[in-house]
Amino acid sequence: MSAGHTRTVRLLASLRSFAGTKALTVTTGPDPTVRDLFAALQREHPALAGRVLTGDGGLQPGMQMVVNGRHIDFLDGLDTALPGDADVVLIPPTAGG
């Protein structure tokens, strides 16, 4: 599988401590979307996916995904394209400031 068929997702806050790493790289296939990324997470990291995703492959309430600085809610949702250089961040329910 070429490097173009993988995507890296950064983990923040409790997801980082849960997974024991700051970032995960998953195999998505060519021209992936957020939906493909979530499917890859379910295959390769089922424990984390169980914490983050619903049964039908969406984000659990309170979970946020940001792609290149934008919440996917204001992009194309699960159909948001993930270019090879995309900065993909997964954020659990949190607050601060």
């Binding site: 923040l12 980082r16 934008r70 919440h71 961040v89 601060g96």
Partner: protein
């Protein structure tokens, strides 16, 4: 009388007179307590002719009806005065234990007037109030003063200023319980101008409740909500406030190098996750708080509390610094000297940019972590360049010919959110009654975290309504008084029910929010009376003209249309002056006659 204690303590430091007056209950029901009561009293007591450091300026310490009841986060109090940094109405708010002990000593509020001839401290007990000589404490740090006066959070609570307050650093804090701070806008400098070093309180009188059983039931429900909410039960205790550092950076809204960029390449080094991993000893809590967001930390030089998000940012990203050890040590020093960390760090960042642009002759450069601790000490003691930095960034930047390099609103340095990446937050900063501030309402939840519901952070139209709701809610929380973090899990409806059960005064949720609007408008009137105008509801030109970087690349703040929408939604005219109909609706028309 239930909920309120019914008494206001008056201390005139000039004459030494100590008196007690009844709390005006009509005023209390309209303005509640804390910040609202403070603003209402300040309106009567401190007019435009009074300079902030005049003996005629007052310090108002006010608890709220919820304070000391045991309700979740009911430990807080506020300090109101005319700000020496901004010239606006000011209240600064703090947690810990002091507010609880103060109210249990039998008072809702204390008004301190005049100036003592020599340094003094006030001791408040249920059986009397005494003014003591404090000459032996003058010059001592917050930790030294707290220890000397017998700080014991369980029975005797010390509130004091450090050397920064004595030296009238314009952003000096009032500290209580050694590490809690009422910091923004310089109330510590006003306290220093009065030669008042400390206020010690002891109190055990329980707050009477109108319907104790109902109150305890609302409290039980509130506890369940705090436990069920993943933010208040897990995220805050585990990572503290700095957990948002990486999030704000990911969306390109982390002000970096004096807001020249909005993305910091080293943000993870100063994040809540790294603080937890590298320097955290344990988390701790204020009185009656199950959230426990406070960080007890250690470095090679010692132990202390923090840094909180704003402090890690102001000494970190704002200064281009990612040395967590240096940031943490600087935060300890800032607390011990008694200063606002946001203004301190942001003023240093301003000096760094002035220096790099050749306008100021100093060694300060972005990234110079080695200079942080010494610079903050120099500010606190007004040594060398520190004496100029002690005036805040607006006066510093103006002095060196570049007022646009002060990242402030109404001379108050803005906190750690770039308005170019959070449009609503920019409107909030511009319209905040005490200047650039995220505690007069905060769009972080709505625009970034999805609390309670995510809205588009880059959208402009429709933002005014959200901002106004947050501003009123904050005014209520600052007046009842409760911590804003509790409001993440506990909706306003529950605070209203608790307040009603406690006081016997009916506070439907809508009426409570309307009290918040009343307080907001009164503060606006105060600033108008001081001469502030629409032109002061503004942001630094950098944020309106220079594009952001990172996840908000290319964005600027669109303040103009948001401000027009905001004035309309508030029932104010095009100059930002409340209209007669709005003032009548809020019961402020008569009060406003001298302004509107």
């Amino acid at each position: 009388m239930k909920g309120w204690m019914g008494k206001v303590l008056n201390v005139d430091l000039g004459s030494g007179a100590v008196t007690t007056t009844p709390l005006d209950m009509d005023m209390a029901t309209q303005f509640i307590g804390g910040r609202g009561l403070g603003a209402r009293l300040l309106w009567d007591l401190v007019g435009p002719e009074v300079e902030p450091f005049s003996p005629d300026n007052v310090l108002i310490f006010a608890a709220g009806p919820l304070t000391a009841t045991g309700y979740q986060t009911s430990n807080r109090f506020s300090v109101s005065t005319k700000s020496p940094l901004t010239g606006t109405v000011l209240d600064a708010n703090s947690g810990g234990w002091w507010g609880m002990h103060f109210k249990r000593a039998g008072y809702d509020a204390m008004i301190v007037r005049g100036r003592a001839e020599k340094p003094v401290y006030i001791e408040i007990k249920e059986d009397g109030v005494t003014i003591h000589d404090a000459s032996h404490l003058w010059g001592r740090t917050v930790s030294e003063t707290s220890e000397a006066l017998g700080q014991d959070k369980n029975k005797r609570s010390v509130l004091c200023i450090g050397p920064a307050g004595e030296n009238r650093v314009l952003f000096a804090a009032i500290m209580n319980d050694a590490t809690r701070a009422a910091a923004r806008g310089g109330p510590g400098a006003v306290m220093g101008s009065k030669n008042l070093k400390a206020i010690v309180v002891e109190g055990k009188t329980r707050v009477e409740m109108d319907d104790k059983e109902r109150f305890r039931f609302v409290q039980y429900e509130s506890t369940k909500m705090l436990k069920a909410n993943p933010v208040t039960s897990q995220a805050f205790p585990e990572f503290g406030t700095s957990v948002v550092m990486n999030i704000i950076n990911a969306i390109g809204a982390l002000p970096t190098r004096n807001f020249q960029q909005s993305y910091f390449e080293h943000a993870d080094d100063i994040s809540g996750e790294t603080i937890t991993e590298d320097i955290l000893i344990k988390n701790t809590a204020c009185w009656a708080c199950p959230i426990a967001c406070t960080r007890l930390t250690k470095t090679s030089k010692g132990e202390g509390e923090g840094p909180e998000y704003e402090s890690a940012w102001s000494f970190g990203a704002a200064c281009g610094i990612h040395d967590l050890e240096a940031i943490t040590n600087t935060n300890y020093i800032c607390n011990d000297l008694g200063m606002d960390t946001i203004s301190a760090g942001s003023t240093i960042a301003c000096a760094m940019e002035l220096t790099e642009r050749g306008l100021l002759d100093s060694d300060l450069r972005f990234g110079r972590a080695d200079l942080l601790e010494q610079t903050v000490e120099d500010i606190g003691y007004r040594r060398g360049l520190g004496d100029e930095l002690a005036e805040g960034s607006a006066r510093l930047a103006a002095k060196y010919g570049a007022p646009e390099l002060s990242m402030s609103v109404k001379k108050l340095e803005m906190p750690a959110y770039d308005p170019r990446g959070m449009q609503g937050q920019g409107l909030l900063f511009a319209t905040s009654n005490r200047g650039g501030c995220h505690m007069r309402g905060n769009m972080l939840g709505s625009e970034v975290l999805g609390l309670p519901k995510l809205i588009d952070r880059l959208q402009v139209q429709g933002k005014a309504g959200y901002v106004i709701l947050h501003q009123h809610s904050a005014a209520v929380l600052d007046s009842i008084v409760a911590c804003k973090f509790a409001n993440i899990a506990i909706a306003e409806e529950y605070f209203a029910r608790a307040l009603t059960a406690l006081t016997g005064v009916s506070y439907p949720t809508g009426d409570l929010i309307k009290a918040g609007e009343r307080i907001w408008n009164l503060e606006r009137l105060y600033n108008l009376r001081e001469g502030f105008t629409r032109d002061d509801d503004n942001l630094p030109p950098r944020l309106l003209n220079e594009p952001a970087t990172g996840g908000s690349e290319g964005q600027v703040s669109h303040l103009g249309p948001m401000l027009e929408e905001y004035y309309r939604a508030r029932g104010w005219d095009a100059n930002g002056v409340p209209k007669r109909a709005k003032l009548e609706d809020l019961g402020l028309a008569e009060l406003a006659l001298e302004v509107v």
